[in-house]
Each structure stands twice: as C-alpha cells, then as structure tokens.
C-alpha cells in the first residue's frame, strides 16, 4: 500500500532517529542512523548530510536507499524507498533543517558533533507501511480547524493594522495557547525586522530590531520558510545572537539607540513563520516557549495559515483608501473627541534628533529612529511652528523628506510602531488615531527640540 508522505509527518519530528540502509557497488549493505528526515513535498524528502561517511560514499555511487521510520506514538514501522537526487547546502530546506538539527543535537547531547553539511534531496519511490499500528494515535486536536476558522473571521473583520496585530496575538494566546509571541515587520530600507507587536513578555520590545539571517526569526525571514526548534541548544542560542545583532546607532555614540529584544531568556521551543504577500516579505510571526517540544508540525501549519492571512490583510488594509485620504467620505468616520489633556505646562521636554539616522531621544531616553523617527520629528516641528496637532496619513505619505521608500512602504506599520513607543515612553507625548487616515499629536509639556548634526 502506498501512503502519502503527509501521513507520516509525526515520524519526521525527530523524536526517534530513523535508520537508513545504502549499498556499495560491490553489494555490501551499510546501515546508519539518520538524525533527520525532512518532508520537502509529497514526492521528496531531505536527509541530513552530517558526515563524510560510508553512507555518503554509497549514495554517490549507488543512489538507492531505504529508510526505516518508526511512528513515535503508534509504534508502527514504515519504509521509504528512495533515490538520491542532489545535495543542497543553502536555501529554505537547508536552513530549516539546520535549525531543526541543532535542536535535535541538543536533545541528544550531541552539540558540536551534529552539524549539517547539506540537505540530501531524495525522490520518494514508495512509502511502505509495515504491519499495523500497535498503539492508538494521539487524538488529533480536533478543534484546530475550527480555531483557524474563528481566527480567520476575526482577522478579516479588522479595520486597522493595529487592530489586526492585537487580534492576531490574542488568537495565538487565547485560542492556540501560544503565550509568548511577536509580530515583526520588515523595513525595506534597512532590510531589518522590527518588532511591532508582542505579548507574554516583561517588556513589549516594540521597536527592537533583528537583522535578516539572525536567529530563527532572521533565518525564517531571509529564507522565507518556517523554522521550528523543539529543543534549543547553546550553539543556536538565538536570543543571544539577536541581542548581539543590535548595533549602536551611528551619530549617537554616547547613547545606544536600541530597544532590547523582548524574547525569553531561556527558550526551549521556537517557531518563526514568514509573513509573505505576493512575492514580498512583510515580516515574521514568531512564538516561543520555555518548555521543550511545544510546537508540532500542526502548530506550524496553523501559524503558516495565520501568517498568510496576516500578509493578505496587511496589504489589504494598506491599499484601502482611508476616507480622509479620499474625497467625499470625510464625514463618514467622525473623529473621536480629543483626549482631555492637562494644560501644556511643567518643565520643557527636551527632544533631540540625530540627523544621520533620525534617532530621537526624549531627555536621555532613546525613543525611535529611522522613518518612524523622521515622522515624529516632522510632527513635532509642525506642532511647535504652527501649533498643528492633527495630521493625515496622506500628507506623510507624500512628504519626500521622510524617506519613505516608495508607494509600497507600509506607513501604517511605522505609525503603529511610533504610537506604541510613545505610549511606552509616558504620558507627555502621544500620537493617537482620530479617524481613519488621521492622527492627533497630544503634547503635555512644552517642547525643546534640538537638532544634532552628524
């Protein structure tokens, strides 16, 4: 009987090593443990190439291989009859396997011994079922599809990016039990990811940045592939890599223009899924846990679905013309009344802007940089020079001095970031929406704006 490979996904989780037999040209068989069998698609698997050994010699000379798999719950055996095609040493399959193998190595006490040299891609000639399942399978989390339905409905109903992000995190936490999560967006100018929303951490970390390729998040983004680790190991202590990846801002050498990465100090399971729309990377959806083995392939499936929905919704919300940006619909969305603000008094609030990277400091505290910093600086100057407190997204979008890359830039994501950073800063400076496509600057103290060259 031939089964689809997808029926064997539990066998590919790495809980039980698989056994592989190859054969030399002289007919001598060779049996070897194989750390990782990775499902590429329904017709192909990738096996981890870790050592230049007899298995390696054999498959290069005789491409046939047979792999024995054991289901980690039912104890049923399966055999994969394979033909070696090629070895990949970069790209999504390789990077996913590399991260996963690091977790397997950690769990097996094989840190430093297991290292992925390549992903050997095999054509699956036959999936052979050996005997019957001996034990009952774990009941599927039957409500998973129902939960996804609810999630899709809730995400579809969102009318702003901020609502979309909050809803997404709520779905992950409440419906899927993923208590520590972040959404990061790609800055197309700097090609770095910035945290725009998070939950389950001591501090939000909104505005913290990660370079493409750093940690599970950066690898998932760079390769546009899910990356899942079930047991973290020291070599892949990504949170450390992430912390180290944050660079001091140029032009502000005395004060680091950085926001600490909020992630868990000792994560044991991590899963990062790229948010892609069309051929564009929008960001990364990331969850983690202090416990081992928290995310299965089914969790990965669920997150991929949610990330796909997020990608489409992010683009949709960006493309929908806000009434304030359009013509006649101005009255359709009444702006909420201005928040009752204490009078602008007290000692002046000193705000510095470093021109080289638009980093903004309030007092001695770093607030934000980049395009979001440029936006805030523009609003503050307008406020001081003309007393303006209300602005439209449209005028920001059209302002060439802000350095927005092009029409495809996600201004809304930068505004959400800015709003959240200001809320975290404190009560004296706020930026709030006051209708679709409209913003209101709320200032509680006199401002002392200082430009710092260089």
């Amino acid at each position: 009987m031939t089964l689809p490979l997808s029926a064997l996904r539990a066998c590919f989780e790495g809980a039980i090593p698989s056994m592989m037999t190859t054969c030399a040209i002289d007919g001598t068989p060779n049996v070897a443990y194989i750390s990782q069998v990775f499902c590429v698609d329904d017709g192909h698997v990738a096996l981890s190439f870790q050592f230049f050994n007899k298995t390696r010699q054999n498959i290069l000379a005789n491409p046939r291989a047979t792999v024995l798999l054991l289901h980690p719950v039912t104890a049923q055996f399966f055999r994969l009859h394979l033909r070696y095609l090629r070895t990949e040493s970069s790209g999504p399959v390789f990077e996913s396997m590399k991260a996963q193998l690091a977790g397997i190595a950690s769990h097996a006490g094989m840190d430093g011994v297991f290292r992925l040299l390549g992903s050997d891609i095999y054509e699956v000639l036959q999936v052979e079922e050996v005997g019957e399942p001996a034990l009952p399978d774990t009941p599927a989390r039957c409500s998973r599809l129902g939960l996804l339905r609810q999630a899709a409905q809730r995400l579809s109903a969102c009318v702003s990016l901020e609502q979309l992000l909050d809803t997404c995190l709520d779905v992950l936490g409440q419906s899927l039990g993923m208590a520590h999560a972040m959404v990061l967006m790609l800055d197309p100018i700097t090609q770095r990811l910035y945290t725009v929303a998070s939950h389950g951490y001591d501090r939000s970390g909104v505005g913290s940045e990660i370079a493409l390729g750093d940690g599970v998040i950066g690898v998932a983004a760079r390769e546009r592939t899910p990356v899942r680790i079930s047991h973290m190991n020291s070599a892949y202590l990504y949170s450390k890599a992430l912390r180290n990846s944050m660079q001091p801002a140029a032009g502000a050498p005395q004060q680091l223009a950085e926001i600490p990465y909020p992630g868990l100090l000792a994560p044991h399971s991590q899963l990062a899924v790229p948010i892609v729309s069309g051929d564009c990377l929008r960001g990364v959806l990331f969850v983690e846990s202090p416990l081992d083995l928290q995310f299965t392939f089914e969790d990965e499936d669920a997150l991929v679905v949610i990330a796909a929905h997020l990608g489409a919704a992010i683009d949709h919300l960006r493309d929908v013309p806000a009434p304030a940006e359009g013509a006649a619909a101005e009255g359709a969305h009444k702006a909420p009344p201005a928040r009752q603000h204490a009078a602008v008094d007290g000692p002046p609030l000193r705000i510095r802007r470093y021109a080289s990277n638009n980093s903004i400091f309030v007092g001695d505290e770093y607030l934000i940089k980049g395009v979001a910093g440029a936006i805030l600086w523009r609003l503050l100057r307008e406020y001081r020079q003309h007393g303006r407190t209300e602005f439209t997204n449209r005028e920001l979008r059209l302002d060439p001095t802000l350095g927005l890359p092009d029409i495809s830039d996600n201004l809304e994501a930068r505004l959400v970031l800015l709003q959240r950073r200001l809320r975290e800063y404190g009560p004296h400076l706020r930026l709030e929406k006051c209708g679709r496509g409209r913003l209101r600057l709320e200032v509680g103290r006199p401002l002392d704006l200082v430009e710092v060259a260089g």
Binding site: M19, M20, T21, T22, C23, I25, G27, T28, P29, N30, V31, A32, Y33, F51, N53, K54, N62, R64, A65, T66, V67, L68, L70, P72, T74, A75, F77, R79, H81, A108, G109, M110, V113, F114, V130, G131, A134, L135
Partner: protein
Amino acid sequence: VSATSSPLLRPEHLAMMDRGVSAIVGSCSRALVPSVMRAVGYRVVAEGAEVMVYLARSQSRQLLQDVADTGRVSVVFSEPFSHVTVQLKSARARVVPIPSQVEAELARYRLAMEHEVGKVGFPPTFVQAMLRHDMDDLVAVHLLTDVAFDQTPGPHAGQVIGRANGAEP
C-alpha cells in the same frame, strides 16, 4: 566457527551488546536495492564472531530474500542513550529457523530494551509495541562477522574495530 586471532570487538562493545540494545538489520538485493528492518532480539556468540538476529518474517520479506540471495548483511547495535554504536558486516549470512527455547531470550531482550529506550523517554508499552511479534512469524539470520566498525557519532565513526581471519581489508 574459526576463532579470530585479534578480537573483533572491544570489551565495552561486547558488554553493550550483551546488555540488549537496538539492533537494525540491513541487506541488499543483487540489483543493489537496500532493505532494512529492526530485529526483535539477537544472540551474540564467540565474542561477536557469530551473531543470530531474530526478525518477524511478515515485516522483513525483502530483507530475508536479499540475505538468502546474497549472503550479505549488516547489523547495527546501538545504545539509544549513549549513542554508542557498532556495525557488524558479513558476507556469510543465511536465513535459519529460530532456535528452540528462544522465548526467555526474547523476554530478556524486551526488558533490556524497555530499560534502554525508557532512558530516552519512551514508556515500556511503546517498546513492547515496537518489538511485538507472533512466535510463529519469527525467523533468524545467522551471520559470521567479517568486519566490525565503530559507528558512534564523532571522530572515530567509520573506523574498523576488528576483522575476522581471512576477511579482506
């Protein structure tokens, strides 16, 4: 069985195999297509110069056919917790009936495996299911070891531990 002049296996390997660890059996057809199955038990004789592995016939048809056709077999013995692994290769293997009175041997092996596999987190019920078989379905592969290899992951993986007299290098 001719005794080897130098030991095929080091004492620590023999001790591991005597305890009862995972045993995986591989062979290959004349057309160079590999076959593989897990043994449900085994017996080590003459310090590893001779080995008998027990297989469920219904799970191992191609493997048994290949052994019968070619006489070639490889068996990997591995301790799941420590990853200590040894591979024995033979071009002098044949399919034989299981010895009489093998039940106690199989039961000892199952208990040993419950202990070994338990160390990596699987319950005895899982091991019992993994090694389940009907006695009527059992068959043995008897092999005279030609070469023993160290296959513990690491720098010595793939090195020859010992060869039988007359076995080609």
